[in-house]
């Protein structure tokens, strides 16, 4: 009989790898191809139906959060006949390391980013997937204490501190305007502020390029320096906007810039 680890590896391969598709054609041969001795190969033959069920059940577990979280990406790739090969490649890459079920969908996004899968054909694919999951990532971002010394009203010599869950993102495509029926975005630089409101719910706000640049630069420069560098001449209006973003929960507050 094989060592338990060899048997576990064989079952993992049955679940994750493409050759698992043909398992039921010759279960014993599948076992032998994974180095299992004859007694175990015969057991795989005897319990082939139940073992095949594990392929289906585990794949359901792994793919359900992806299909739920990326409905537009799925609609696009299904329309192109590529969704099946996409998820096969993802499963075969074996990049779901986390025990947290909520991490499966981010693992899919990470796999898209690392491999560039499909992006030669659909250059917006990674941005689309990112936009689909953005609000969930923001909504569930773990709480953390803000840095000490924050104050609520911005001054010209302050820098801003984003709330821990807030993200400022820039895309080359208008990926937040697509739908399952029309999943291809237009090429248009897009800047978004994703933040968690006082109720803990994710909110999305369109930003002008200047506002996106300000929210990025003013995390390390004083507001006076950042607005000057960006050619924003109406500092009181800028401070008013930042005060509003702080009230909405997008900003944690302000600190004196060093």
């Amino acid at each position: 009989m094989a060592e338990p680890l060899a048997l576990q590896r064989a079952l993992a391969a049955l679940v994750l790898d493409p050759e698992g598709e043909a398992f039921e054609g010759d279960p014993a041969a599948f076992a032998r191809s994974h180095g299992l001795p004859e007694a175990d190969a015969q057991s795989f033959q005897q319990f082939s139906g139940g073992l095949a069920a594990y392929r289906e059940l585990a794949r359901l577990s792994l793919l359900d959060p992806i299909e739920t979280m990326f409905p537009i990406t799925r609609a696009l790739l299904e329309r192109e006949g590529a969704w099946g090969s996409c998820v096969e490649a993802f499963l075969q890459a074996r990049c779901v390391a986390s025990r947290h079920y909520r991490d499966i969908a981010p693992a899919f996004l990470g796999w898209l980013a690392e491999t560039g899968w499909g992006q030669a054909t659909w250059p917006f694919l990674l941005e689309l997937a990112h936009a689909e999951i953005l609000e969930v990532l923001v909504a569930r971002f773990p709480e953390a204490d803000p840095p000490p010394g924050l104050h609520p009203d911005p001054g010209p010599r302050d820098r801003l501190v984003l709330d821990v869950a807030t993200q400022v993102v820039s895309y080359r495509h208008a990926v937040h305007r697509v739908s399952e029926a029309a999943p291809v975005p237009e090429v248009r630089p897009t800047h978004l502020l994703a933040y968690r409101d006082a109720e803990g719910r994710a909110q999305l706000m369109d930003l002008t390029p200047a506002a996106a640049a300000l929210l990025t630069r003013a995390q390390t420069e004083s507001l006076a320096e950042a607005t000057a560098a960006l050619g924003l001449t109406d500092l009181p209006a800028t401070l008013s906007l930042l005060r509003e973003l702080r009230d909405r929960g997008a900003l944690a507050g302000f600190l004196a810039a060093s």
Binding site: V15, L16, Q42, S43, L51, Y54, V96, R99, Y101, R140
Partner: protein, 284 residues
């Protein structure tokens, strides 16, 4: 630890019900069961609601993905977080499944069966003992539903579970629905199976719904508990001769909270009936 507050029939705390449960402290559920993997490291409104409930109500903890029978090393950071979480909740024990869930660092997010072999017993006993040493509360192991033996067996499931529980000297979370489903799939008498088992180690029961797909019955946690499983729960409680907490699991096709509370009340009545005297949190 006063175990009295953990008697009766509890419910799994599920995300769609968090707001409603938090808003009504008079829900009548004697205790909740929560999965630490779903709480630790999470954030946002549902997380805050879950933590508020866990701080307010009695809680048991039940892990899904620590891979007790696997070979991947423990995640030390996670075990540390888990230990803190268990202390915070005040759970009298922590349960995990007698299975493996990850291989070579890849999490499969499915409860996969261990080989019924002496080597697998030896390995799992060592792992369970080591895990117990890392936890601040006693460890329970739960029998799973399995759909196939993994490799040539040297013993049957009952002997495998018994040897692991005895060898690791841990308690048993007895899932009566899993016994029932395994009995259907493998053609044995669930009561005769239970009669062979070390029932003195049982600290908690699980009960749930299942569904038949072709030749296979699957532990879906997606339907109401059927009468034969309730009867098996009652038979088991009578055989134990002592009250233990029963947890109704529902993870798919999750109904409205009111419907789930009604099902819990039905199970509570069955629980009280067999134990003659109502125990614990009463009927919701």
């Amino acid at each position: 630890m006063a175990l009295g507050r953990f008697m009766g029939v509890g419910l799994g705390l599920r995300r769609p019900h968090l707001e409603a449960v938090l808003a009504r402290p008079d829900h009548g559920v004697p205790f909740w069961e929560t999965c630490p993997e779903n709480v630790i490291g999470d954030g946002g409104r549902p997380h805050r609601d879950a933590c508020a409930i866990l701080d307010r109500d009695p809680v048991l903890t039940h892990g899904l993905a620590i891979s007790v029978g696997g070979f991947d090393p423990w995640d030390g950071d996670y075990l540390r977080d888990l230990g803190r979480f268990l202390v915070r909740t005040g759970t009298p024990w922590h349960s995990e499944h007698l299975c493996f869930t990850s291989v070579d660092g890849n999490s499969l997010h499915e409860l996969l069966p261990l080989p019924f072999t002496r080597e697998a017993v030896r390995h799992t006993v060592a792992r369970a003992r080591d895990l117990q040493a890392h936890l601040p509360v006693p460890l329970l192991l739960e029998n799973i539903t399995y759909y196939a033996e993994l490799g040539r067996a040297e013993m049957d499931e009952a002997a495998f579970i018994t040897e692991v529980l005895e060898g690791a000297d841990v308690g048993w979370l007895l899932d009566v629905n899993n016994v029932y489903v395994n009995a259907l799939n493998f053609g044995f008498d669930p009561k005769a199976w239970l009669a062979r088992m070390p029932l003195d180690r049982v600290a908690q029961l699980h009960i749930a719904g299942h569904k038949r797909f072709g030749a296979l019955t699957v532990d879906t946690h997606g339907a109401e508990v059927i009468d034969p499983v309730i009867e098996l729960m009652q038979w088991t409680l009578a055989r134990l001769g002592r009250p233990v907490p029963v947890l109704l699991e529902r993870d798919n096709h999750i109904p409205d909270l009111e419907d789930l509370l009604a099902e819990r009340s039905r199970l509570q009545a069955a629980y009280d009936e067999v134990l003659a005297v109502p125990i614990g949190g009463g009927r919701g």
